[in-house]
Amino acid sequence: MKKEKKGWREMPIGLVLEAGTSKEFETGDWRSDKPIWDAKKCTHCMICWIYCPDTAILVKDGKIQGIDYHYCKGCGICAEECPPKIKAISMVREEK
C-alpha cells in the first residue's frame, strides 16, 4: 500500500529522519548484470567481501554464503577482484 505523504506541519523540524531508512531501499532492482557465486570454487579468501561497495556478500562464521540480491547493484567488482585462478564469481545478464 502506498504511504500517505506528510504535510509540512507534521514533519520533524530540521530535516531529521529516523535512522536506517536506507535499509528499505531495494538497490537490487537497479541491476542489469548479476553475479553468480560458485560455492565449489570459492576459497573464502574474503576479497569480494572487502571490495563489495554495498556489503552484499553474505558471510556466516567466516564463510561466504552467497550474494544478497536485495542490495546487489550488479557492479561486477566482486567478479573482477576474485583471484584469476579461482574465478568463483561470474557475471550473467539479469533477466526477469
Binding site: 506528510k6 509540512w8 523540524i13 530540521g14 530535516l15
Partner: protein
C-alpha cells in the same frame, strides 16, 4: 546590578561576549577585520578561561562545516568572519539554516571583492540575506556586545542561525565605553542549550540532512519559512528579558525622535549613531528631523518598518551596498515593496553610500536632511536613487 565599565573595541567586545558565553565549540578561520575576534578568543582558550573546543580550520568553508557538525550534535557553537570569508561560507549558510542549527556568527561588515578592499560596507552580509539566517546590524560597541549574547538565546529558541554584525573598522577597531555583564550572569541567563535530537545520542540514532527530492524538499523549505515568520516575537521577548535583567533595552527597529519628524533617515549599522548626532543638532535649530535604524534586517520587520517610515513625509533610505540590479540598494527595495499596499506613502529617496569604507560625515548627513526638507516643500523627488559621495556624479 552593578556592571563593569571597560574600554573595548567592537572586536574585543564580541570576543568578551564569546568568553562569557563559553560556547562548546568554536571553529574559525581568520580574516580582516574580524581576525581579532577569534584571535582573542583563541587566547582565552589557551589561558583556560573557557572550556571551548577550538577548531582552527583551513578555510571558512571548513570552519562553518565543522560548526554544523558540532551544532547537530547538540553543542552551542559560534564563529566569526567577514567579507570573502562569509562568501566562502555561502554554501554552508543555507545548509545551517535548512538543518535549523542555531549557530551564531560574529560578522564584521567588509566590502566584497572586486576591487579588493578591507573596509566597511554591507555587501557581505546583504549578499547572504536570503540564506535563512537572522541578521542583526549593531550601531556601536556596546550593542555589538549585548547583541552577541542575546543572539545565542534568540537563535536557540527560534532554531535558526544568526549573524550579528558590526561595521568593519568603524566599530570593530574603535575603542568605546562598554558595560560588561558579570561573568557568571551570562551563562546563568543563557542556560544550557536544549536539543530534541543529537547526532551523538547513540540510543536514539537519527538521519540528518538526507536527500530530499520532489516529494519532500518543498515541505522542508515551507517549514523553514514558517520558522522565520515566528522569529520577531522571540527577538522581542529576549530583548525585553535582557533589558529587565541587565538594564539595556533594545528594539527591533530603533526610532529616534520620530514622533513629530517631518523627514527621516532610515539606515543600518554605525551610520545610525552618526545620524543621531545630526538629528540632535538640527533639532536645536528647530528642524523636525528623525532617524529610523533597522536593527533586525532578517527576517525583515515589516510592521515596525512600515509604522516608522509612514510617520514622516520624506524618507532617505540609506544603503551601504548596491544590489547591482539597477533598482538601488537592498533596504530601499524592501521599503518600496512594503509601501505597495500601504495607504500612506511617504516619498522615498535612496542614497547608496559609503561603499568600500568611504566615510560619511556629520555634515554630509546634515546635507541629506536638508535635501529631504527641500523635497518635502516641493513634494517631488528629483532622482530616486543617488550614489552619494562618489566622484563624477
Amino acid at each position: 546590578m552593578k556592571n563593569l565599565v571597560v574600554a573595548r573595541t567592537g572586536n574585543e567586545a564580541m570576543a568578551e561576549a564569546m568568553r562569557q558565553i563559553n560556547p562548546d565549540v568554536v571553529a574559525a578561520y581568520p580574516i580582516t577585520p574580524a581576525t581579532e575576534v577569534v584571535q582573542l578568543f583563541a587566547s582565552f582558550v589557551a589561558d583556560g578561561l573557557v572550556t571551548t573546543e577550538f577548531v582552527p580550520a583551513e578555510s571558512e568553508h571548513s570552519a562553518l562545516s565543522a560548526c554544523v557538525g558540532a551544532s547537530a550534535s547538540g553543542a552551542r557553537v559560534m564563529t566569526s568572519t567577514s567579507s570573502q570569508g562569509l562568501a566562502l561560507m555561502h554554501e554552508i549558510l543555507f545548509i545551517t539554516a535548512g538543518l535549523r542549527l542555531p549557530i551564531v556568527i560574529c560578522l564584521v561588515n567588509r566590502s566584497l571583492s572586486s576591487p579588493i578592499n578591507i573596509h566597511c560596507d554591507h555587501s557581505d552580509s546583504l549578499a547572504s540575506r536570503d540564506s535563512g539566517w537572522l541578521q542583526i546590524f549593531t550601531e556601536n560597541t556596546q550593542e555589538a556586545y549585548d547583541t552577541t549574547i542575546m543572539a545565542v538565546k534568540i537563535a536557540e529558541e527560534a532554531l535558526l542561525p544568526a549573524m550579528v554584525t558590526t561595521d568593519g573598522f568603524i566599530i570593530s577597531h574603535s575603542m568605546e565605553r562598554v558595560e560588561l555583564v558579570d561573568d557568571k550572569e551570562v551563562p546563568n541567563w543563557l542556560g544550557e542549550r536544549k536539543v530534541k535530537y543529537s547526532l551523538l545520542d547513540l540510543d536514539n540514532p537519527i538521519t540528518l540532512g538526507a536527500l530530499d527530492l520532489q516529494d519532500y524538499y518543498f515541505e522542508h523549505k515551507r517549514s523553514e519559512i514558517e520558522a522565520m515568520d515566528h522569529v520577531l516575537p522571540i527577538i522581542d521577548k529576549v530583548q525585553k528579558d535582557f533589558g529587565e535583567k541587565f538594564g539595556r533595552h533594545y528594539s527591533i527597529v530603533d526610532e529616534y525622535r520620530m514622533d513629530d519628524a517631518e523627514v527621516a533617515v532610515l539606515a543600518m549599522g554605525s551610520t545610525g549613531g552618526t545620524a543621531k548626532v545630526v538629528v540632535e543638532r538640527m533639532r536645536e535649530n528647530g528642524k523636525k528631523v528623525g532617524l529610523i535604524r533597522c536593527r533586525v534586517y532578517r527576517p525583515f520587520p515589516k510592521e515596525a518598518v512600515l509604522k516608522a517610515i509612514t510617520k514622516s513625509k520624506v524618507i532617505a533610505v540609506m544603503d551601504r551596498a548596491d544590489t547591482l540590479s539597477t533598482m538601488g540598494g537592498h533596504l530601499y527595495n524592501d521599503c518600496r515593496s512594503l509601501l505597495y499596499e500601504s495607504n500612506v506613502k511617504p516619498l522615498l529617496k535612496n542614497y547608496v553610500y559609503g561603499l568600500g569604507g568611504r566615510d560619511i560625515s556629520i555634515e554630509e548627513i546634515e546635507g541629506i536632511y536638508e535635501d529631504l526638507l527641500a523635497i518635502k516643500k516641493t513634494g517631488k523627488v528629483d532622482k530616486d536613487i543617488v550614489y552619494f559621495g562618489v566622484r563624477g556624479e
